[in-house]
Amino acid sequence: MDIELNDAELVLQIGSGNDREAEAELFRRMAPRVRLYGLRHLRDEQAAQDLTQQVLITTLEALRAGRLREPEKLASFVLGACRMTVLDLRRNAQRKERLLEQFGADLPAPVPWSLPHLDHEQLTRCVQNLKERERSVVVMSFYNEQTSADVARLLGVSDANVRVIRHRAIHQLRECMGVAA
């Protein structure tokens, strides 16, 4: 498999016939991206994994059938599949079973998932070194998962101001942790 193929070329390759290598490459390429979407919207690793599997099955099904008319719009197609699948996940377990039965054997094993390691002690120092408002905004946002409006109300500042404070704090934390902005 020539892994230099771009996404659109992969789409064409898969649509032209039963090319398992091209399908495996598409899976390898798209699975981590779809899983990030799943983590963001479902906040659960297993659910994100289920989403990934279903979205890629749906995508392969469409590509094999040549239903993606504009191959360069693969990301747009996958995003649509992600949205539909998130909606379907809770209400249509039967379709999941049917698709897994039909396509599951074709799918490669899940791609191992991990987040970058951060030095906990260093991060603690970096958080403590933020200015008071920045520390409160970051902790309330990430721990409490409060919206900017909620944090703004609690701190007596504007919604936009919370976003500015959070942006500044994120950049300072990344810089303090030695990560490029």
């Binding site: 906990h120 403590q128 008071e132 950049h171």
Partner: protein, 197 residues
């Protein structure tokens, strides 16, 4: 794995927090489904968010928090020890091994204060540290301060004075409230801090 137009890390944090408007979120998602470089950056942001969550649950940060933050901690089964001395008053306090968080609720009239500093002083009232421009909710009537539980558990019996101060038009400091904490050690450890060399 490079990107000619990488998404700003702060925008990725907004994305993770579901803080982007619909069209902006869609643009970010389309980009992420097409770009492993920015996907890696998002994973860094998620790791940062998870790290901050973990640190927040340890109770070791000194910071101003909100009641909803305390409620979330309590909902998670974490044990919060809270003291609420009146302005100008004092309180007897301690921490035990079972405590996860130590909170001081400092009552004050904050309605006219544009900037508030929290000063931490020794038993003589000599300032040992200052948290400038703390976040305050003007109508709240108090500041909820989280002391480091790690530090408090190691602290020998001693007195700490906290002061909330604001500034008038001329920039002169004005006291909003002073609060004395008479801490009694209830855990094994040294009877006093070692002398400063």
């Amino acid at each position: 794995m490079n990107c000619a137009n990488p998404i700003n890390a702060a925008v990725l944090a907004d994305y993770w927090l579901a803080a982007l408007a619909g069209p902006e979120e869609e643009a970010v998602e389309l980009h992420l489904l097409d770009c492993d470089h920015c996907g890696a950056r998002l994973r860094e942001v998620i790791a940062l968010a998870e790290g901050v969550r973990k640190i927040a649950r340890e109770g070791s940060l000194r910071m101003v928090v909100s009641d909803s933050f305390l409620k979330r901690l309590a909902d998670e089964g974490l044990r919060i020890r809270e003291y609420a001395p009146p302005a100008g008053g004092s309180v007897q306090c301690t921490v035990t091994a079972e405590d996860d968080f130590l909170i001081a609720r400092l009552a004050a009239n904050l309605s006219a204060a544009k900037r508030v500093d929290l000063c931490l002083c020794d038993e003589r009232g000599v300032e040992q540290g200052r948290m400038p421009d703390i976040p305050v909710q003007p109508g709240a009537g108090n500041v909820v301060y989280q002391e480091s539980i790690t530090w408090a558990k190691a602290m020998p019996s001693s007195t700490m004075i906290a002061r909330l101060v604001t500034f008038d038009e001329a920039g002169d400091e004005r006291l909003l409230g002073e609060y004395t904490f008479n801490h009694t050690r209830s855990m094994p450890g040294p009877g006093a801090w070692p002398p400063v060399a």
